[in-house]
Amino acid sequence: MTITERTIEADQTALVSRLVSSRQFWLILINLAVICTLGALRPDSFLSWINFKAVLSLMSYDVLLAVAMTTVLIVRGLDLSVGSVLALSSVVMAMLLRDGYPVFPSLLAGLAIALLCGFINGLLVVKAGILPFLVTLGMMSAARGFATVLTTGQYVSFPQAPRWFSRFARQEFGFHIGDMFYGIPALLLITLGVTLVYGLLLANWVPLRRMFYLGESPEAAKLSGMRTARLGISAYLISAIFVWIAAVLMTSANKIGYANYGISAELRALAAAVIGGASLAGGSGSILGTFLGVLLLALIGNGFVLLNGNPNWQQATIGAVLIIAVGVDALRTFRARS
């Protein structure tokens, strides 16, 4: 055996052990296990393209919000206001569209609102040093309140808006395999595309990598000359951008703006991010993990519906999965320590 062969072998074992110890690997396995179980129990209804499409489209908003949550969790923050900022942004866009403004200025106004909320959050957390939990709790209440005040709790429809806007999220891009036609809604494509690009950037692009450093140890980051305040605030701004994308897709797909969009979505997003490996202590989390976390929750929910179990139990499983994930983590760190 030559030296190169040996190193390659060592590399391979290192790779395998790293893979086995990585969180994403286990999440993929668990997701596959859930898919196989459901597929075996309900082959017709679960393993159909229509069902997959429905599950994936419904979870895409949660994916975007969970990605937003992961971003702020990485810098040791927290954003409870994602659900209500989604509602506020959606309401603003829908009202502008209803009043006959062109599509792009309306969308930009929605983006501006979301960024403003994110900026206030970031400023109060980073500059004033208030706990993110409280800041975003206040923002959650205030943004939802503003959305309700603006609409007086009514749906906002926009019949005069250009047709393409109210259609594009549900527009399907199809491809044929054999006789079957598989259509993928634009909603899902955009979500997956944005998430993929952002996940790659977050893992490889230095300015974004710095956020992990900041979350891991704010003191060290500051002492090593990073502009920690700017970085911290920009995490909240990035989070706001993802919330805005979710708002645009939701407004377009449902053809209305509504102040009650995304109620308790922040809790689901937080649960999914934590299942995916993010931590309130900052410095950890990955987009792939978060995506798999959302997928796991969505599949379990779908399973409850398909197995004719009481669909009401679905909500209880989110909490249970969260606690189990946290428990497994605690066991792992405990074992690593001893």
């Binding site: 927290l78 109060l124 004033a128 040093g129 208030i130 706990l131 939990f133 409280l134 800041v135 709790l137 206040g138 923002m139 959650m140 209440s141 205030a142 943004a143 939802r144 309140g145 503003f146 309700t148 005040v149 007086t152 709790g153 809790l267 937080l270 649960a271 934590v274 309130l280 202590a281 009481n310 009401n312 139990w313 679905q314 909500q315 209880a316 499983t317 989110i318 909490g319 249970a320 969260l322 606690i323 946290v326 428990g327 983590d329 605690a330």
Partner: protein, 345 residues
């Protein structure tokens, strides 16, 4: 020197309480002057009954927050208490006292579960209690199928609607519990430990405080109080529904924060929390009586929370600055003393 610092701190806290009380009075009398229907007995009763259940939860939350924890699960324990007591009475046919006691024991058990998980897993209480909140809310929804349960006996309804000397029982319960817990928190040795744990858990552990036991017992207290509130709410509304008490955990936390407790732990009083509860009740009521669009309530709620936290942050910063100045002056003095004696600097 130490007493000097304590005095300064006391003053700042008093200023905060007086300021909050003045704002409450200003809002109440301002709206009374403008609309003339605030200070009627009927309105005051409505105002108190609107916030009383969140108030009872806020009392337990104060203990948890002083200890440096947080308990999001109170909202679902509240609804669970409602549903469980209703199920035990209406569907299992148990007599009222047995059902109430069983419900309270179960709620205490949920609190114990929270506490044990937080102590054992060493995960932030926010995550653990979020898990309990979601799980229990799902269970509430599932075991009732989203329907409400009603048909209680007269004796049970008294717990929510009965009056003693013209004051509703839940309000009496709130006042008495606040008084007892406030006195205990201020004077009893066991509860003084909370400030120690909230200030620095490590230091508390090293100096022999049984941190785990204290933590678990406080989560039990918080859940039990939420269960009490749930039982009385079932009696007040005459029905149990899984959607009751949604987002009440946030109102309870807001009351504690407005009352001047530092959410990082180590400070806060029951008196402050009571003021915070009254403040939220008065603000809500002002919107209702003035017939301003009540949708504004959420906005004001959020903005007030932010303002209150900013103010208490400011006060905390001043406190630390004073503490640092004090330490520095002490240091200077001792150095001066040593150099004047010719010892080592």
């Amino acid at each position: 020197m130490k007493t000097g610092f304590r005095k300064a701190r006391l003053n700042i806290n008093t200023i905060q309480y007086v300021g909050l009380a003045l704002v409450i009075l200003a809002i109440a009398f301002g709206f009374q002057a403008a609309f003339g229907n605030v200070m009627t007995t009927a309105n005051l009763r409505v105002m108190a009954m609107n916030m009383v259940f969140e108030g009872i939860m806020a009392l337990g939350m104060t203990f948890v927050i002083i200890m440096g924890g947080i308990d999001l699960s109170v909202a679902s324990v509240f609804a669970f208490g409602e549903i469980l007591v209703a199920k035990l009475m209406v569907q299992a046919g148990l007599p009222v006292p047995v059902a109430v006691v069983l419900t309270l024991i179960t709620c205490a058990g949920i609190g114990a579960l929270n506490g044990v998980m937080i102590v054992m897993l060493r995960v932030h209480p926010l995550i653990i209690t979020l898990g309990t909140l979601l799980t229990l809310r799902g269970i509430n929804l599932a075991i009732t199928d989203g329907k409400s349960i009603s048909g209680f006996s007269e004796g049970f309804l008294w717990l929510g609607q009965g009056r003693i000397f013209g004051v509703d029982f839940p309000i009496i319960f709130f006042s008495v519990t606040a008084l007892i817990l406030g006195l205990l928190l201020a004077h009893h040795r066991y509860f003084r430990q909370l400030y120690f744990i909230g200030g620095s858990e490590r230091a508390a552990r090293f100096s022999g405080v049984n941190v785990s036991r204290v933590k678990i017992s406080i989560y039990v207290l918080s859940s039990t109080l939420a269960g009490c509130a749930g039982i009385m709410a079932a009696a007040k509304y005459g029905a149990a529904h899984w959607g009751h008490g949604n987002a009440s955990e946030l109102k309870a936390i807001a009351s504690v924060a407005i009352g001047g407790a530092d959410i990082m732990g180590g400070s806060g009083t029951i008196f402050g929390t009571v003021l915070g509860v009254i403040f939220l009740a008065v603000v809500h009521n002002a919107f209702v009586t003035s017939a301003v669009n009540t949708f504004w309530y959420d906005v004001v709620n959020g903005v007030m929370l932010l303002l209150a936290v900013l103010i208490s942050r400011f006060i905390a910063r001043q406190n630390t600055q004073k503490l640092k100045a004090l330490r520095q002056s002490k240091l200077d003095q001792s150095q001066h003393y040593q150099t004047s004696k010719g010892g080592k600097p």
